[in-house]
């Protein structure tokens, strides 16, 4: 797994690009990276999973935790999702209704900034 962070289009937003395999052996690394960005004051996180080769429910668990932390400060975590198998796991677990998602980070960021909430009903 490889994690890259870069500033978003506005200064309360950070893009986190994840690639490779994400599982129990390395979720803690992602968890720390997300926490670091939140502690640094980024309200919204755009986590780009477009280059992730594998992610399981342990990986999504860390993203859900990050989303909860962001929401307590009025922010949110949005996901860039492209691969069918990633979408599939999100549908099975209902995460597709929890996260703001799109297929480009620009679009996810735009949704987070205007305060779009995922359809939580």
């Amino acid at each position: 797994m490889d994690i890259k962070t870069s500033p978003g289009n506005i200064d309360t937003t950070c893009w986190v690009t994840v690639s490779g395999d994400l599982d129990l052996s390395n979720v803690e690394t992602l968890n720390e990276a997300l926490r670091t960005m939140q502690d640094a004051g980024f309200v919204h996180l755009v986590v780009d999973l477009g280059a992730v080769a594998f992610i399981d429910s342990t990986g999504f668990g860390v993203l859900v935790e990050a989303m909860r932390r962001s929401r307590t400060t009025g922010g949110d975590v949005g996901l860039v999702v492209k691969q069918t198998h990633v979408k599939r796991v999100m549908e099975i677990t209902g995460l597709d209704r929890v996260f703001v998602t799109s297929d480009t980070p620009e679009d996810v960021e735009a949704q987070l900034i205007v305060g779009v909430q995922a359809d939580n009903s």
């Binding site: 599982d23 129990l24 399981d56 069918t84």
Partner: protein
Amino acid sequence: MNEIPAGSTTGEHVSLTVPADATYLTFLRSAVAGMAARTEAGVDVIEDLRIAVDEAVTLLLNSAEASNAVQCDIWLADHGITIEVSATAQGELPGVGDDSYSWMVLDAILNELRVENRGGRVTISMQRAWDRGSAPVTA
């Protein structure tokens, strides 16, 4: 759709024993994908099986003793694959059979899913057939 692949893989069995360590999940996912690739399973099924072995072994690792080994058995049949993962667990396996997300995923992508605890050794048995829609056949 072919009934049986050209070179029938029926009855082929592979057994793997690895340390009870999360860094071996990649190894097991690759092994299962490699086995499935010997059959008529499509890429979607192979992807599902990668997730299945990963979620099941993750459940085992959450309570397996670190000094222990995880065993993974794979059987190829005419129209499907059976995967069994087992380890010596400490106490009840958290997340098994309840509404954990791992279990939710396993339940959705498999045709059969069973857990057995015999004298502290927990075995998760999974079956997946090739010819089914994306919705699981209720076991």
